[in-house]
Symmetry: C2
Subunit: 339 residues, 2 copies
């Protein structure tokens, strides 16, 4: 009750000094303005006594800096974006920035709404895993000199980007299976125009061509429910009985695929080669354990945040960075030599 929002004015009044003086002292600019140590101590003591914290919004409005970063991902509960969000938050926190986040669920309109909503807060910077169709709004922001880093997919010309080597990693996965004796390698991917998915597809197709293997691809819609995904993959497997290995373009497709494989008769699934793009905490527990292409989440996160902070601190935009951090394959039982 009595704790009714104290302000810098109240403090100034109580201490009989100007509020500018209070502001300077609180912000550690007292020495450079040569304010007496006694006054400083007096103010700081009182500030502590009444537990005064400057109002962030007012500070932001006055300084033009919000100390907040907008993080826009596809799905915060996803096993790729969740950990990245956590790491980015922790890194940002050490530099005094907080995170405002939002999930687009891959929808263009949602993404645009979120971005515009965030822009009204004049955040200091944006980290975005872009949904399709937001190139224009991103360019608008760049034109306004808003610090912005894209990641994971769909780089935009002239904008900092951080991602992994999807195509090469997929090539490696294909060769890995081939080297271990698998000759009929299928690919289960999302029906998606996003660049990271296209690159994975491309890596697969190229390599199949090089190996003179007939490519077999299942395209699954992102929107359909898990049970539906599972059914579609099952259909795919049943109509392509010659397949002896499958590469999944994402870990949740792999999970759905494993459920599908479990439904098939045992003979089919014996000695079936499997590789997943993106690791998963449960891949080690399934038998056989699932071989996975792991994205280096920590390095992705640290590159993202450091590029953004560089832009925030030095708004003179130099050449945009395009950082590619290679994924590494973690071999497990599911891709052991075909016997």
């Amino acid at each position: 009750m009595e704790n009714k929002k104290i302000s810098i004015n109240d403090i100034a009044k109580h201490l009989n000094i100007a509020k500018s003086t209070v502001s300077l002292i609180i912000n550690g600019k007292a020495d450079e303005r040569r304010i007496s140590k006694e006054l400083q101590a007096k103010v700081l003591d009182y500030v502590r006594e009444v537990r005064f914290y400057p109002h962030h919004l007012a500070q932001s409005l006055a300084t033009g800096r919000s100390s907040s970063i907008g993080l826009i991902v596809e799905d915060i509960s996803d096993s790729f974006f969740g950990p990245i969000a956590l790491m980015i938050e922790n890194l940002a926190k050490t530099k005094g920035y907080r995170i405002m986040y939002s999930s687009t669920l891959g929808d263009t309109n949602t993404a645009i709404e979120i971005i515009n909503f965030f822009r009204r807060s004049h955040l200091d910077g944006y980290i975005i895993a872009p949904a399709k169709g937001i190139e224009n709004i991103v360019k608008e922001m760049v034109d306004e000199h808003t610090p912005i880093v894209l990641f994971d997919r769909d780089p935009v010309d002239g904008v900092d980007f951080v991602g992994t080597n999807n195509r090469e990693a997929m090539t490696e996965a294909c060769m890995h299976l081939y080297d271990r004796g698998f000759r009929n390698i299928g690919f289960v991917t999302l029906e998606s125009a996003q660049s990271q998915m296209q690159d994975r597809l491309l890596g697969y197709k190229e390599t199949m061509e090089k190996l003179a293997i007939d490519p077999k691809v299942a395209y699954i819609s992102f929107e359909c429910k898990k049970a539906m995904k599972q059914q579609l993959i099952k259909d795919f497997l049943e109509s392509n009985p010659e397949l002896d290995a499958i590469i999944f373009a994402t870990n949740y497709l792999c999970l759905a695929g494993l459920a599908a494989i479990n439904e098939l008769n045992t003979s089919t699934k014996m000695n079936f080669g499997i590789v997943s793009f993106d690791d998963h905490e449960a891949f080690n527990l399934i038998s056989p354990a699932i071989t996975a292409i792991r994205q280096p989440l920590e390095e992705l996160s640290s590159n993202i945040i450091s590029l953004l902070l560089k832009q925030i601190e030095r708004p003179i935009r130099d050449n945009p960075s395009h950082v590619v951090i290679p994924s590494v394959m973690k071999e497990r039982g599911s891709s052991e030599r075909k016997t």
Copy 2:
């Protein structure tokens, strides 16, 4: 470049009217103030033309409402908090609120820092899965009439709370295993004073006593790495060879435990009863599939947000709510009748 931050002032100047008029029109209060339709149209057209969006911070400062909610969880990348965060965000969005989130990683000091950081922004409300030792700061906020809802653990007297029936659900899990012939049921839990963990432990101990079964409990530290957790569980199993079933107090403990069990010799793990508190997307894929106690994430989320919005909209605090939403057990292969 030319897009340099237009303001309500610029608009007023350009149109030769007062900025208060612009403000009223933008906020849809033009009719009630009987501003001519022509003026309204003129202003709105111009606003659209120059793509003007009111500065959120300035609005907040003037109105005292930030339209933002602080969400403080233990770990945003966790399979419990991630989905809850997503659902809360989506529900909040429909009411015009955005989310600022942060992860405490269970650390008291981190939690207090985060809360104080957020408080400086004078957010409209807070949703918190409390870390230990933040009761005082929570009470402080309540005294200041800050809308706040706690969830998942450690309710505080006089503060709205949403959680599940940990104790009863654990009792159910114990009885479930007992009914299926398991007679030596162990319990693997976190070394944690959090109420939800204590309640699960209590449910286990009580039921064991009732069943005249000797309780066997492993306490694992939250901080230790996954490999370490796995090792500790393995030790526990080896030193208690009579166990024929295990209940895990969280899903990630279960994942670590499954890895531990995999390392044991095959005879031990055959016909071993397993139940996990909290479901996991991979539990269906492991064989046998893992029986789990599922928390109703959607209902938890919707209750949390609606309690908070009620507080925000009607700051006259009435009796605090304490909502308990029962979990339901999903039976799978890992708890089939012992043969």
